[in-house]
């Protein structure tokens, strides 16, 4: 942390000057103002001076006793420059937002779950993107596997193979998942889901009770696989040298690889130059760049339907429900196929009819059109209704959600 200390000196001086200038225009009534403006070199600091080695070199020199403000005074006056702005945060407010969890378990709420229970919850909440066995669907992250691949050409980084701390998994699932419906999981469900992910990676067994006490004790396989940034030693020392200006390479310079060979650049952006020389082996796509996949052609943009306008309130409610679908389906202007097909005009559309989308065999050969009735049945129980459907979503439990969602879907025509 202290390797680049000296770089900040100039900034601090400049900042100090600006602080002074700004201070003079600020609301003086709420802060102690120095008795003698000539002495602004000792402008009370907003912060105590951190102890060495932090910042000891940073105090700027006063120029001719002029108006140069020290951003950090030496007197350790922690009351310093306060403005009396803001208000005290209430305990309930802090509790609502202060959710982060640290590796030692700090921040974990009381609760518990195991992988056995977690499997069903994972299936309902996570499998649609992450696969039933946490193996990932399409481009969505794989959460399991990849053991021992980190030194390979194309490492598979999962919770089991890469993540250093169990706390991070819990924290992320709890605050950021499911995608499009974050912060909807209960504490116990979160424990259960995390237990299932750990179980999928053969880290705990399916009866292991994951709770606020046991979770920090679950050590992930790659916990010791990280080192703190060592560029200062391994790189900077080598590259802070006088650069060569002439005859800098041994042999003649030759082209060893060409981007046009891979042909993965979005087309409208670049006219294709005629590549003449054959190039050596193409580069592998790098994470976060998975295999370039052929994108199905986008359907023409759909406009909201004007026919038999559905109840706006119901549509609005349906839009919220659609958050559960968003991870895989698009609807509206410019909607494209993702994990699932685009849904413009789905109400009234022939079943399994989006050109270029790979449906399950069942869905592809069903025939007929989606109407409110068939959609309602499918949305309530996708896999019970269409055996073998690729849609991993468990279904909507509430009839009111189904009704609202259909109203929302029907507000987008083809």
């Amino acid at each position: 942390m202290s390797k680049s200390l000296n770089l900040y000196v100039g900034t601090i001086a400049g900042v100090g000057l600006m602080l002074v200038a700004a201070y003079n225009f600020a609301d003086r009534n709420v802060a102690d103002f120095p008795d003698n403006p000539q002495m602004l070199g000792e402008l009370p600091a907003p912060i105590p001076e951190p102890e060495a080695p932090v910042k000891t070199a940073a105090a700027p020199e006063a120029l001719d006793g002029g108006i140069i403000g020290a951003a950090h005074a030496d007197n350790g006056d922690t009351k310093g420059l306060r403005f009396g702005l803001g208000r005290g945060a209430l305990p309930e407010e802090i509790a609502a937002w202060n959710l982060d969890v640290s590796p030692d378990g700090t921040g974990l709420p009381a609760g518990s779950g195991n992988a056995f229970d977690g499997e069903a919850i994972f299936e309902e909440q996570c499998a649609v993107c992450h696969g039933s066995f946490a193996e990932g669907v399409g481009n969505w992250p794989k959460l399991a596997g990849g053991d021992g691949t980190l030194a390979d050409e194309d490492p598979l980084k999962t919770v089991g193979s890469y993540w250093p701390y169990t706390s991070t998994v819990w924290d992320y699932v709890h605050r950021s998942m499911p995608f499009g419906n974050a912060q909807s999981l209960s504490v116990d469900d979160t424990y259960a889901i995390v237990a299932y992910i750990l179980y999928s990676n053969d880290i705990i067994d399916d009866e292991f009770e994951l709770n606020q006490d046991t979770l920090p004790e679950v050590v992930l396989p790659n916990a010791d696989g990280f080192i703190v940034d060592d560029r200062a030693e391994t790189e900077y020392s080598k590259w802070r040298t006088e650069p060569c200006m002439e005859n800098c390479k041994d042999g003649p310079v030759e082209i060893t690889m060409r981007a046009t060979v891979l042909d993965v650049t979005p087309e409208e952006a670049v006219e294709e130059p005629a590549a003449t020389d054959p190039a050596p082996e193409p580069a592998a796509a790098v994470d976060p760049a998975p295999e370039p996949a052929a994108e199905p052609a986008a359907d023409p943009a759909a406009a909201p339907a004007a026919t038999g306008a559905p109840d706006p309130e119901l549509v609005a409610a349906g839009e919220k429900v659609f958050n559960k679908c968003k991870a895989c389906h698009q609807i509206g202007d410019g909607a494209k196929d993702r994990v699932g097909p685009q849904l413009n005009g789905i109400v009234g559309r022939e079943i399994g009819s989006v050109e270029g989308f790979k449906y399950s065999n069942t869905m592809g050969s069903m025939g007929g059109a989606w109407d409110a009735e068939t959609l309602a049945a499918f949305l309530a129980d996708p896999r019970g209704t269409v055996k073998g459907t690729k849609m991993a979503f468990a279904g909507l439990r509430k009839d009111s959600d189904v009704e609202a969602l259909i109203a929302y879907l029907s507000s987008f025509s083809q």
Partner: protein
């Protein structure tokens, strides 16, 4: 905005460039075949009216520039909701990136958070946990700085080999704006840091209001130094996609830490080790161990023109090579350019003196007679750090680091003026 009304299409440009590049026209002393009707005839615009004021209350670029836009590489990510696009750096000059074409990176989409709905909480090891409204923030003394913001993954697709054909795609996860905001240390002091004790080993955890809960841990030393809680960029409010109404600015450090829609700063006695600082934004080395806390963006540069999306479209003779350079360690002091793949170098002209942790524009005013170039640029910063080659980086890190690829980029400029992303020996 119809294409018919565009002066000249890109394709026409390129076709013409190819013809010119073949040496059909000498660059100097070109003679007109006849009088130019654009000069000899009275044009509509010289006779009638243009638009009155208020035609467009908030202006967009003229239609002739409608290809200067952010672009996405669809196969990169599973969904645009959690994805990135790229600044059209090949078409820009100067150093300030217009907000409207500055790259976007979201983890859960760009949310609409109004100023009245904005709250910023300071909690943790502070004397008095506080909540600020947007209006509160505007009452603290402000600062103004220009800083670059570069995603740690910029150029990340090029680790294993030349892959994307355009500076926009290889180097476009960057923007450079003039920010107005309140130093984070001012807000921390307002809450009081006595409770934190010795600040040396303390951290702040910063978090956004969107559904991704993107959060990062920042060592206190940096938090007290130059981190800014910003609400204006390039003179106007932040754009939604850049964190309106308030984002964090962490000068010189990777873009992921510049938390958007900032809602909370917690003073802590250790790092949270959140998802974005463990499973992502860590750099795996050849032996499988990974670096963490690689926050600083090292010195880097790229020639933006000529480049694959900005070929040489004129004949032989004078040509301006331009590009940009930046360093998370401080100021750029020098940029060298090579036309022969790094065998010989000449020092470019900096458009203005380098600024701390901000983009610097460089020019090399030169001539081109249709010879092939292997065009490179090499940035040097005030610490003496010299931008490394791809080979140098790979020697230390292998091919799987993903992040922090600040290698020297090579464009192969061909006889017809077109350019391609290549790697050289």
């Amino acid at each position: 905005m119809s294409k018919e009304t565009k002066g000249t299409s890109r394709r026409q440009f390129l076709t013409r460039a190819a013809a010119l590049g073949a040496g059909a026209v000498a660059a100097t002393g070109a003679r007109a075949a006849g009088p130019d009707p654009l000069i000899t005839e009275v044009q509509d615009w010289a006779s009638g009216f243009g638009h009155g004021v208020d035609e467009v209350p908030y202006g967009l670029p003229i239609k002739f520039e409608d290809d200067v836009i952010r672009r996405n590489v669809e196969w990169l990510t599973a969904d645009t909701i959690s994805s990135i696009n790229f600044t059209p750096i090949h078409a820009l000059d100067g150093t300030i990136t217009p907000q409207g074409c500055a790259f976007e990176r979201h983890h859960s989409g760009a949310i609409e958070l109004s100023k009245p709905d904005f709250r910023l909480m300071i909690n943790g090891l502070v004397d008095q946990p506080l909540v600020f409204t947007y209006d509160d923030l505007e009452r603290f003394p402000r600062e103004q700085h220009v800083y670059f913001c570069e995603c740690a993954a910029n150029t990340g697709m090029e680790w294993a080999g030349a892959q994307l054909n355009g500076a926009q795609f290889t180097h476009g996860m960057i923007h450079n704006m003039e920010y107005t905001g309140v130093p984070l240390r001012t807000l921390l002091a307002e809450a009081g840091l006595d409770a934190a004790g010795d600040l040396k080993d303390k951290w702040v955890y910063v978090e956004g209001a969107d559904a991704s809960s993107n959060g990062r841990s920042i060592p206190m030393e940096k938090a007290m130094d130059d981190v800014l809680v910003a609400f204006k960029a390039n003179g106007e409010a932040l754009r939604k996609e850049h964190g309106y109404p308030v984002r964090l600015v962490v000068p010189g450090w990777e873009g992921n830490m510049w938390v958007k829609w900032l809602r909370r700063v917690e003073v802590m006695d250790g790092p949270v080790e959140s998802r974005e600082e463990t499973s992502k934004y860590t750099d795996t080395l050849a032996d499988g161990t990974s670096r963490k806390w690689t926050w600083v963006m090292d010195a880097k540069s790229v020639v933006t023109s000529p480049s694959p999306q900005a070929p040489i479209k004129h004949g032989h003779g004078p040509v301006v090579i331009t590009g940009m350079a930046w360093s998370g360690h401080g100021k750029i002091t020098r940029v060298d350019v090579s036309k022969d793949g790094g065998m010989t170098w000449e020092t470019a002209r900096l458009a203005s003196e380098g600024q701390d942790k901000a983009l610097t524009r460089f020019y090399l005013d030169t001539t081109w007679e249709g010879e092939e170039w292997l065009l490179q640029s090499r940035a040097i910063d005030e610490t003496g750090y010299v931008q490394p080659t791809k080979a140098q980086l790979r020697d230390v890190r292998g091919l799987n680091s993903i992040y922090h690829n600040n290698c020297i980029q090579t464009w192969h400029v061909k006889a017809n003026g077109e350019a391609e992303n290549v790697e050289v020996s």
